[in-house]
């Protein structure tokens, strides 16, 4: 149980997909102009990532290593298509809001990377925990970026006006260059946090 928790936890801070592994920067730029979009995208990715890790881990004994990547992509595409069909039928409003983002999940580096690095070598339960943790880490990073961009670049949060009418939104934050600059600072910040954490761990180890 403790091991599962550790696997889950590492995706959130010490191996955060966006801020530390620098995977899937494309959606981090494209979909984070509002918090709503960032959150929806994050949750969709979490779902697909957890499902795909489970499937890949479950089938790892039968998949020929030479064609593993095409098979992983087939698996990801299948999951995304099934989700899409279900949403279209039972939540058409959500489906039309997600629009093109949903199909884009198929090519996200983070999903393929976790299948290759973790799920293909580990048992089903840890793989699920890994996918779920990575997904949550991805979502949190997306929300962080989205919150900053929406408040500074548009003066709103979740669509509600939070800045007064005196506030002139900074256009650059909404545009992709602004997101790049912001992500750069966040990567730096997470590096500092992780270093401090490691130092603390080392100290603890020495004391014991």
């Amino acid at each position: 149980m403790r091991e599962l928790w550790n696997i889950f936890k590492k995706g959130i801070i010490s191996e955060n997909p966006i801020l530390v592994l620098a995977l899937s920067l494309c959606p981090a730029l494209a979909v984070t102009t509002t918090v709503q979009n960032a959150l929806t995208m994050g949750l969709s990715v979490t779902f697909v990532l957890a499902c795909n890790n489970t499937v890949v881990s479950f089938t790892r004994k039968w998949v020929n290593p030479k064609v593993r990547v095409p098979i992983y992509i087939t698996s990801i595409a299948t999951i995304v298509t099934v989700v899409e069909l279900l949403l279209q039928a039972y939540a058409p409003k959500l489906y039309s809001n997600l629009g093109i983002y949903l199909q884009l999940i198929v090519v996200f580096a983070i999903i393929l990377a976790r299948a290759e690095v973790f799920a293909s070598k580990n048992k089903v339960l840890p793989s699920f925990a890994d996918g779920f943790g990575m997904g949550i880490g991805f979502t949190l990073a997306m929300i962080l970026i989205g919150t900053f961009r929406e408040i500074v670049g548009n003066g709103t949060f979740f669509g509600y006006q939070v800045m007064g009418s005196w506030y002139h939104p900074a256009l650059i934050v909404i545009l992709p260059p602004g997101a790049f600059i912001l992500i750069g600072y966040l990567v730096g910040l997470s590096k500092i946090i992780n270093e401090k954490r490691e130092n603390r761990m080392k100290l603890k180890g020495e004391v014991q």
Partner: protein
Amino acid sequence: MSDHENNKNDSVFKIALNLAVACLISGCIIAATYYLTADTAIKAGISLRDETMKTMVDGSTDIKEIQSKADWYEVYKDSDLMGYIIPTDTKGYGGTMELLVAVDKDLKVMTYKIITSKETPGLGENAGKSAFVSQFIGKTLEHLVVTKDASDTEDIQAMSGATISSKAVTVGVKKAVEELKSYLEGGQ
């Protein structure tokens, strides 16, 4: 997944079979899901469209398709004709945008709704928000022009940073009104 296992499965036939089986399974899963959800999806799509059109025009009670014009609708309040809903498309910043335009019977714009678009979020995408849409209400054909002059209150004020999207929407709405005008003149 060790090396000697690799050697065992080296033949092209085995590799191809492996991939083929994976694709076959995923094909079956997708086909089954589609089979189970297709009917519901079509129904959901139609009811979503009807709902969208009903919410576009305040006080509307009934929406009827016009027989001679595909996808054109007449909007009724009880038995009075209020106006028309006309589908149109226009070329925006990120590609084609599809709009539904509601026009009353005096050829004044009532409102419009963007159905699909790929405009920049936070900029051009705001063309679907009420701050911009409200400018169109009551506009007649000659005032469906984009201006950047803030003192010009007759025409449509462009959204800052999204002139192309502003123009695209205006062109689309204008096209719909023109089409309706020629339809009404031709029909009566």
